[in-house]
């Protein structure tokens, strides 16, 4: 039940875009139309769900202070947590590469729709941010990490698709003042949607 609660929280309350502003760069650049936005959203969800448990295992069994005791009790005072940034980003970059190759080999159709976005994801702050938040909050098990990763990914997907839909309409039907066109109005739309999402605060299942 706790995991389900965390999953819902991650989608609506701790939303990556509206609460933490992670992954804004690709969010602004790719939210011009719904189809590509949805593709990127799927890719981000996928990568978050994969990398978060991997990084969780690394954090618990290798990096954290005293985590190496499972090898031998002598390692009890070894603390490798200063390496965590490098390890996390290496995991993310190599997983991106790996997923790209696997998808290209076994699902060419998916690759052609997702392919261009995969390299972008290695430098998407939402992915690394997910791992860093995982490090800050003590997750109890791998499943918690999977739920949080999936939830954050879906929240990101929801946000980018919704904003892309609004942007598509605005580009066609509205007469926006020149200086705000494009990026400016996107910021304001995102802000208004963020305020709307604040109404989910305190939801509990």
């Amino acid at each position: 039940m706790d995991n389900l609660n965390l999953f819902i929280r991650s989608i609506f309350i701790d939303n990556m875009i509206f609460a933490y502003f992670l992954g804004m760069c690709s969010f602004i650049a790719v939210s011009k139309n719904v189809k590509t936005a949805f593709g990127l959203g799927i890719a981000v969800t996928f990568m978050l769900t994969i990398t978060l448990p991997i990084n969780y295992l690394l954090e618990t069994y290798v990096l954290r202070g005293g985590a190496l005791t499972w090898i031998s009790p002598d390692f009890a005072d070894v603390d490798l947590s200063f390496l965590s940034l490098i390890v996390f980003i290496a995991v993310i970059a190599s997983m991106t590469q790996l997923v790209e190759m696997v998808v290209e080999k076994y699902a060419p159709a998916l690759y052609s729709s997702l392919g261009i976005f995969l390299p972008l994801i290695a430098v998407n702050c939402a992915i690394l941010g997910g791992s860093l938040f995982m490090q800050q909050r003590d997750f109890g098990s791998v499943w918690t990490a999977v739920c949080a990763g999936g939830g954050w990914g879906l929240g990101w997907l929801l946000a980018i698709t919704a904003v892309a839909a609004v942007r598509e309409r605005i580009a066609q039907y509205s007469n926006i003042p020149g200086p705000l066109r494009g990026v400016g109005i996107t910021f304001i739309i995102t802000a208004l949607m963020g305020i709307a999402f604040m109404s989910f605060l305190g939801i509990k299942i």
């Binding site: 933490y20 502003f21 940034l85 980003i89 290695a122 690394l128 990026v183």
Partner: protein, 204 residues
């Protein structure tokens, strides 16, 4: 491009945040108060300048298909140094910035400048480009942080600047400015002002 324009263009005409739209995440997240915004700006200037120089020095030996990973490793190494330094000498600020120091690694400004400039230029212009873009980024951070702290808490750098007589007369801090969405609106306003002076930047 002359060294001078490499250095000064990112201040306004080619600002990394409001024109190139890079590195937005941290601009929005660390600007509730002015102090973390300044620290964040300085950290990014340092990391950006040195990673630009390092990548520029080894640019001819990096194989093109693994260049993203090489760049990430260089940047991650520098960010680890910065975060350890901050934890040692400015612990409170480093606590406030929390994950966002680590997220400098995936700050799009870094990847953008490394790809677009350092991979094709000599170390000295790359250094200037790094410092220039870092300053351009810090300017926006400081403007946003200034308005959010002034209007949201009535303080600057922790000192109260709105006089007590204002509060006595019924002035109230705008609590909305502290909430995340207002950072977006503040940046949108900066873009609005900036683009009304630079008409060639407006989108059709």
């Amino acid at each position: 491009m002359s060294n001078k324009s490499v250095f000064f263009n990112p201040f306004s005409k080619n600002n990394p945040v409001i024109v190139q739209i890079l590195g937005i995440c941290s601009v929005l997240a660390v600007t509730v108060k002015l102090e973390p915004a300044i620290v964040m700006g300085l950290s990014v200037i340092a990391v950006l300048a040195f990673s630009n120089v390092i990548i520029s020095l080894i640019r001819n030996t990096i194989p093109t298909n693994i260049r993203i990973i090489v760049q990430l490793v260089v940047v991650a190494g520098l960010v680890v140094i910065v975060s350890q330094l901050l934890e040692a000498y400015a612990y409170d600020v480093s606590k406030q910035l929390s994950v966002f120091i680590g997220l400098i690694i995936t700050n799009c400004i870094l990847m953008g400048r490394l790809e677009a400039f350092a991979m094709a230029n000599k170390p000295w212009p790359s250094f200037l480009d790094g410092v220039g873009n870092g300053i351009g980024y810090a300017i926006i951070l400081i403007i946003v942080g200034f308005f959010r702290e002034l209007l949201g808490s009535g303080t600057l750098l922790g000192y109260q600047v709105v006089p007590d007589s204002f509060y006595a007369a019924g002035y109230v801090n705008n609590g909305l400015m502290i909430l995340p969405p207002m950072a977006l609106v503040t940046v949108a306003c900066i873009i609005w002002v900036h683009r009304s002076f630079n008409k060639d930047l407006q989108e059709k």
